[in-house]
Amino acid sequence: MTLLMNVLHELSGLFFDDGWLAPAILGVALLAAAVAASAPGLPLAAGGVLLFGCLGVLFGNVVAKARR
């Protein structure tokens, strides 16, 4: 049970240790999934959202932390 709690704690740490970085990444992935589902004729659009969304999140996260 303790091991399981530790594993759950580690997993939650993975998501919430770094402010809004993880929720933003999940948001980008969800947005890409929505684009993939709504525009099946343009599969690369979802890829573009995913790639450039992640790059934007990374850049924004670093700049925000540097200003803190």
Binding site: I25, A29, A46, K65
Partner: protein, 245 residues
């Protein structure tokens, strides 16, 4: 007895396909090993191999029905979470926003919090290694099934795949020492870039995105993450005097 001329295409196709997947797995395992040590990377890789062996043994007859896209999506997102977090910290260190060896410094202070932090990093490093070996191993299994099943060539295809994995493992053994001489934050920077690139690739694959160049797209993603990370360092960099703790 299978004729060599019949088996050769299956062997070579499985060898080449598996070579790519094994290199991808090795890249992550080596990177994790160099940054976090061989213990978490090795244990993660062994756990991945063990899980893979178990999956193949138990689900072997049904392996071609496992939804690989779901697996790719889940593992891709996890790699993005892990890799981008790592890259973000490496950028901040390179820019002088946070001290270069902050974890080691805190460890010297002997805080219990740091011990749990170190343990978590090792655990996560092992997890990254585990995921890479498991996912790429499953892809190797799919390649073997794709080229060997239905034509009675599963054994030759498996031998081709095993040869590729052995070759890549030997190459990894050779390059592990030169990698250890690279500065720690440079490695973390590189690992963050690579994991993020793999994360985008696998997440996209899981969503059905037909990446141009297929697996080669990972190189392009890594280049883009590297450029973005270097640009971020340049934008937020502090003068050296300010960066000192």
């Amino acid at each position: 007895m299978i004729a060599w001329t019949t088996a050769a295409p299956a062997v070579s196709a499985a060898f080449l396909g598996s070579l790519v997947e094994a290199v991808e797995a090795l890249t992550i395992v080596l990177a994790v090993a160099t940054v976090r040590g061989w213990r978490p990377a090795g244990l993660g890789a062994l756990a991945g191999l063990g899980s893979l062996a178990l999956i193949v043994l138990v689900l072997g007859p049904f392996l071609d029905r496992v939804p690989l896209d779901v697996l790719q999506l889940v593992i891709g997102v996890l790699l993005l979470l892990f890799g981008m977090r790592w890259l973000s910290k490496a950028i901040l260190r390179a820019a002088g926003i946070i001290p270069l060896h902050d974890e080691a410094f805190a460890f010297a202070a002997g805080t219990a919090e740091l011990r749990s932090h170190e343990a978590r990093l090792a655990w996560l490093a092992g997890l990254a290694s585990f995921k890479a070996v498991l996912l790429e191993g499953l892809e190797v299994a799919f390649i073997v099934i794709a080229v060997g099943a239905g034509r009675g060539l599963l054994v030759p295809a498996s031998l081709g795949a095993l040869a590729a994995c052995a070759l890549v493992a030997a190459a990894g053994f050779v390059v592990r020492r030169p990698l250890a001489r690279v500065p720690e934050n440079t490695l973390k920077f590189a690992v963050g870039v690579m994991l993020s690139a793999f994360g985008v690739f696998w997440t996209g694959e899981g969503l059905g995105v037909p990446w141009p160049g297929e697996d080669l797209a990972i190189v392009g993603f890594a280049a883009l993450f590297l450029v973005a990370a270097l640009a971020a360092v340049a934008v937020v960099r502090r003068p050296a005097a300010e960066a000192l703790p």
